[in-house]
Symmetry: C2
Subunit: 345 residues, 2 copies
Amino acid sequence: MVTMADVARLAGVNASTVSHVLNGTRTVSGPTREAVLDAVARTGYRQNTLARSLARSSTTTLGLASRFVSNPHFADLVTSIESTARRAGYSLVLADTHDDPAQELRAVHELADRRVDGLLLAPSVHAVDEALPFLARAGIPTVLLDRFADCVFDQVAPENTDATALLTAHLADAGHTSVAFVAGLAGLSSTSERTAGFHRVVRERGLDGVVLDGRSETPVAEAAVLSAFASPGHPTAVVVGNNSMTVGALRALRTLRLRIPDDVALVCYDDPEWADLVDPPLTAIHQDVPAMATRAVTMILERLAGTAPAAPRRERIRPTFRHRASCGCAGPVRHDRGELLTPVP
Amino acid sequence: MVTMADVARLAGVNASTVSHVLNGTRTVSGPTREAVLDAVARTGYRQNTLARSLARSSTTTLGLASRFVSNPHFADLVTSIESTARRAGYSLVLADTHDDPAQELRAVHELADRRVDGLLLAPSVHAVDEALPFLARAGIPTVLLDRFADCVFDQVAPENTDATALLTAHLADAGHTSVAFVAGLAGLSSTSERTAGFHRVVRERGLDGVVLDGRSETPVAEAAVLSAFASPGHPTAVVVGNNSMTVGALRALRTLRLRIPDDVALVCYDDPEWADLVDPPLTAIHQDVPAMATRAVTMILERLAGTAPAAPRRERIRPTFRHRASCGCAGPVRHDRGELLTPVP
DNA sequence: GTGAAAGCGCTAACAT
DNA sequence: ATGTTAGCGCTTTCAC
């Protein structure tokens, strides 16, 4: 590959001059800059980001450590993060945590070794044990995404408790007294919060509430729903804790030949793209993934720019309630794309 | 951040010794290696990938340039690529092409500037004009993914023509004589091939075939189907060219109150996760994204290792036919997860 | 306005 | 078995 020295030689100038014209870091005479630009064009010179980053000790790169697979929001998340980052001149590198503490630590290490200027992390269950302390020690500006954890970093996540409470209350309003909740991976703040929202309403309304462990995975949720709804006295309604598990729940109910909403009413946290296409369309909580992604990047950039408040921020992105038909209630129902009917309080 | 020199000082050895124990590149005496490892542990030293890559002129990094958003396979693709790459000691960096030639060139440039050792590219419509020649000139080992293009690189993509022909023939077999095809983004090889498969059967069977432009986007496909099926003499069946457009097609038919498969039979290339959950379940072509991803990475690694044949390879990943109910035919139908019934020839 | 030179943190001959 | 030294390709003081 052609180097800056090659370009300099061809242009008859010093390498530092080439550097300066390329970066606009000092005034260069017209002819000189012409010569340099010409040499660049003729050689097809391309900067070496590694050398540049090493010399400047800054990579203008952000890292994203998250679970990739079966994260239904992944494409949206990455797209929004990448575009926001790029607009600020940053590029993005990814590492998969698999939502497993060991893999997460590996991912975070790798990103640190790459000297990312900032890091976005969807913390795993035990991030507080290793990954987060490491990041704090290493002094890498970080923002937590999607889930909270006890640490010194900025955090942004959707509102979970009230939203899940609203779903549960909605079922109670429709007359259900026996309701199941399919919970996500145990230990995640999102899971605890959604479960708490469910429990709150169960308590307040004196419902018969049961929590099933869906571990955030489609087949696990399917199996859980299958066994919980197999016997005659099963609950009459179910709240599903996220996107992937909704697929499992729907499959289980179909297998059991339980009709929605007549035999079992179903509502879910997360609003899959196809929520309006199944029969009946799903009543769901829709989270604004792009908003969360954008906010997270903004927070990191503010930290890097030094314009962020000293104290760590914890922000919530408000989701919206999409009232469709799977809840089986008497209220106004829209079968279309799921327009926002009732904002979550 | 603590550097190798810091570690060396603390261990009372030379930096090169530290390098060698960390990389296992030469024999080091027991005590010395102990001392080094101890110093590493005490300082929390982490390698600087930038410096290392610069010195070795190799990054053990692969680049992936593709369209992120509205690529329904994106999460799967990235996950499979990342895990295969990681297993071989490579990490992955991404750049979004937006399926736009200009953005694609920018993406490819960025990855080149990062000195990725190899590049995976889902070529845009005009990749042959700029991006591919650049990569060839720069001598960056590349493999094309998902779509083919006229160039010197290895390529791997799903089989499109026969699969789409099979879908179309399946409708013809069920008695349909007027069939529409919702085509993806014009210019992509995948679009041309799927369209060709459709046309082939139209010709062979003497069907009345019409091609709608869905531009690979949900709303565009929706609008196209909406207008094509609004009037009384509309086709009685439709083949949808991919995942995202299927969502649009389903919405359009619902808006028009056309029942599937009674009023319009529908089959699609691509088998969304929820294909078995809608009513009726979708008859579809299922592509093996992980297989394609894994194969692409393997091809790159073979090139890097020099074990690949000199001539560029063009490989197809065979998709499978999933017979469900939206085709409305009399054949054996499975309402479950869509088990493979008929392999594509 | 431009050049010379030191250095970013590492690797890899080359010594010993 | 270990230390010395010269880069990798760039940025950035410091001179002139």
